[in-house]
Symmetry: D2
Subunit: 347 residues, 4 copies
């Protein structure tokens, strides 16, 4: 059994990790770390866990945890993981970091967008960007995995084959994303109150959202050159789910629908967690809820010469905890869908 | 492998049966019957099933299905199962009926509350009321199981120990219930439209709801005599979940909280799917979402001499499909939690 | 023009007062007091007010405000108004207090349920309980009006005629109430977060909610003797609205539906803000949204000998700001519906 | 008093017209036409109207109505108004059509996008496109007003000044729109059911939505040449509100934020129903709910050389009934905000 510990177990992503790992046949959950709730019963904080998880919350001491755990998940604010990790820890355990600390290769870009100093730039090189569908091989040998952001996973998976195959002009990419409110975390903030979110929709972080450089970096690898794009997130009155609606000009006139579909099939044809929807079918977040799937659909608009590519995932699963478990499975040589073989819940 | 067929697979309860049975290790799903969608791909109707279920919908011919299936689930409107079942079918297969056709022992009560003639009263006697926690033994040997209603399951489980132990006066029971909208089914009706349900709460079926006699019959067994009670359902703007808030006078002065708790422990102490919450903790529907649990809490109000007992379950799981699977497990001698070992989803 | 000031203008009830008073033909809004936002533009806090209200938030100094205002609304936490009011202020201005400070006549009951010492018990006697339909005459001559609670208004209006006319046994009253989340205020609390409230329903404050003694006191006046009842509030995933479902035994056998209806007509037949619904029609919160109406319906259950009486109102209007304006109209001799002649918004 | 009749009074837009006209000081509502509910009391269909509107629904005979009414609102399906109107009617009354029948000048475009034959193309020329902010003068003298679509109003108002002033390249416009569910109407359709919409977000009508040519036609007038753009609507789990997020390349390098703001001020600086938000403030649908406002904000992204312009309105008010009343006010020479002086409801 893999001994797994979580630091940040009482946030929404941490809670989702607990949900998934409790039903992961090869894992033993040995540490539920929480700075805010140290010493309290986990099931008193998340009562859905009553009778399922008896543990008391531990603290957030990564060094201590590294003595016991085969793998540590950090579902913590930006800066925590970079501030806590060290070479000794990495010799003893694997780190799957759900924060942004190791996602961007360029420390300057990190510090510019996140407005904090990076405490461990020496590990940036070896950290592997844990988007399983793209980096499967590198992940299996890594010590630190940078688990991608929720918007990022959805955006990159939706666009990667089209950029990689040169079917769209990467300089024209516009990503309009919609997210459920669990993506905003469990913080006690005015803008997360029920009455502020319910019956409302708004854009936020326009032109400044921190997932932008992460999307740009990954799609730059696909394009073979640096690209810039627009990414606009919106807050939707629902708990879970991300929908990405991405727009781009076709790279050339005359590109046909079949070529677009062909590109998706080439990259995702045998992916267990990507479902390419049929012609004219637009993804809906409800169809993936609770599961690790990303659903993708597209439309080629011949009137305007643009592709509208759409992707949907559950921000807490494929956008956070599910992908983290998928990464763990890769790290430990398990079948990739271990513990993730979940039928989406509808309605 | 148990060969299972569903008639009414495209309603919400039917869809939930598919979700659960696809992950039930001992079952093979051989028939997804749907009068409305016969001949259409199931995953085109419920796109959450894309890549998970390739079947095309069959029709609703119970006789044909009985030739192939070890167990038939009917998630159909009132009257269908009673109209289709016959002795030959019952010799070949087991029936788990999610409708009300075999829940009430007295055919007159059925015909009075449901306003239809019962087509198979000859099977009423042998049919077993499939509330697993109460009738576990009888269920295992039955041919027809009447799977209880969603409101009913929640109401009975919440009150049974208190009535059975004589701690409350059964003539004073008032049940105020709140349900998510999936309980109203997938019918294209004005009152189920988003804009009619959202941002709204209302009572309906006041003093006339059909689950009333079912609750009364079962609690009468607990009381050892006929009882009458008030049951008022309310429609809540959420997808899933039932909360029951039940009120009753204490049977005698001086009954203490510990006795109430003792009664619950006596009946439910080792139940896998009932969770008795701690002192002062009120159940919330979110804590059981997607799972087969019923959570129960209570408050003894010394000022008024009443107990307020509260129960919460997911109407599509413990209130319908989950309980049906639990019944199937009992019928076929499987561990009762096979396929039902689900961690509730939060948020 | 009446010069009106609000202390606590940035809570939800305060915001609703601003909405109503901006369209009140006889009022000038001269003071938007807010301890938290003093010095900030009101329309930057409530952006729905952009271009409608240019004021900057004042502080919460009641003494200063009393020099300028003809009427002061306090939409503040318990204890504020009692701590700030004094005889000099009451000589200069009228107070309409939306908190509980002056609702209960017995200071011991207040201190027991609210767990704070009352700073001005000397004004309890003269304060008038501002339930307009019951105390219209007294209100018009008052100096301090205790604006009733939201649950309270709905509960009392729903039951008053039945208790007053002796049609129900007041010792059997059970009030099961459901409220939208704006009733919980704008505080940054975990339990008010979108993801904690959405897709969820729960009871809270069972047997201990502070509106209980207020309902009991008022209905005791109707009964002519002290009564005790059960009141259970529930949190509903919607912004606005309160629904009360109240149960009581008929006072005697043979009481007919027409007598119940007659009692309602007797007390409310000419009330501008109470709508008695037709036979078999249950109130829905959506039908009163944004308006000052209370809708009332009932069902007499002959099987059990009980009445189920139901009331619905908008907790921020008739349950708070609308009733406060109605009280102001009475105080200043204006037509009672001035500024309140609002058509409910649907959907 | 203006005698006003509505055909299609029982849809959501029709209901909103009733709400607004009941509080319009210069209007008498003489006809609530409804094919589905002819002969039924209006307040039995929309119970929010209890005690406010006593009328019984009339039929949908435009000829009869024209004998009595000064103005007829048609809130009917596409094709109805074009099929019913004739020269005699237009001599007797004014028509404000909330359907698409007279919005597009080119009958071929209409028939191509709406897939029905236009029954009265002879009136297309004289019909005036009722976007009040753009066509104020023409509207005042018209006989037929084509009241714009909800998505259309929001999209055009958000982009018009930027296109008109040549600040953006109109060939790069992408409009990503999000709408509450009341925009889908009150039809009893599967996709409008609560459980299908709630906790879900999806795009629909991608590259084929019928509001596209309407937006293109109007913005072509601004550009002075034909343009094509992408318009993608999304369904949001809320009752009301449209948010438009529009993207376009700057027309030239070096265009500054101040120029963008200047363009908005030039066109909308004195508009009563358009609110230009401050720097960095993104519109939210909640801020305009129930009112006739359109809120507009924008962001200039220097990294990508694009503008992100955002607009929000209430689809049933400025997107339908409110704009229709605004058009009526212009037609009859009333102050434009008569009956529309509404403070948005929050929360």
């Amino acid at each position: 059994m893999i001994k797994a510990g979580i630091i940040g177990a009482t946030g929404y992503a941490g809670g989702e990790l607990v949900r998934l790992l409790l039903r992961h046949s090869e894992t033993e959950l040995i540490w539920l770390g929480s700075r805010s709730y140290t010493g309290q019963r986990y099931a008193d904080i998340y009562r859905n866990m009553t009778s399922l998880e008896d543990a008391v919350c531990s603290d957030d001491n990564m060094q201590s945890l590294a003595e016991e755990a085969d793998v540590i998940f950090t579902a913590t604010p930006q800066g925590f993981c970079a501030g806590a990790v060290n070479d000794d820890i990495l010799k003893k355990t694997k780190i799957i970091d759900l924060s942004a600390d190791f996602r961007l290769k360029d420390v300057k870009v990190y510090e510019e967008w996140y407005k904090i100093r990076h405490a461990s730039p020496q590990f940036l090189d070896e950290a592997v960007y844990g988007l399983c569908e793209l980096n499967r091989k590198k992940i299996s040998g890594a010590r630190i995995i940078a688990n991608p952001g929720c918007y990022t996973t959805c955006s990159i998976l939706t666009l990667w084959p089209l950029v990689r195959e040169g079917l769209i002009d990467p300089d024209t990419i516009i990503i309009d994303a919609k997210s459920g409110t669990s993506g905003a975390g469990r913080g006690e903030k005015l803008q997360n109150l029920f009455c502020e979110v319910n019956e409302n929709v708004k854009a936020y972080g326009v032109a400044t959202h921190r997932h932008t450089p992460e999307i740009e970096e990954q799609l730059s690898y696909a394009a073979g050159r640096g690209i810039r794009l627009n990414f606009t997130p919106h807050l939707i009155p629902m708990n879970r789910g991300i929908l990405v609606t991405a727009y781009a000009d076709l790279a050339a006139e005359g590109i046909r629908k079949e070529e677009i579909r062909g590109a998706y099939k080439k990259y995702y044809g045998s992916e267990p967690f990507i479902r390419l929807l049929g012609d004219g079918v637009c993804p809906e977040t409800k169809w993936v809820e609770g599961s690790n799937f990303t659903d993708i659909g597209f439309c080629l608009d011949e009137r305007t010469g643009r592709v509208i590519a759409m992707g949907a995932l559950d921000n807490l699963v494929k956008g956070a905890a599910g992908q983290a478990v998928q990464n763990m499975n890769l790290l430990f040589g398990l079948p990739e869908n271990t513990g993730l073989d979940i039928v989406p819940v509808f309605p």
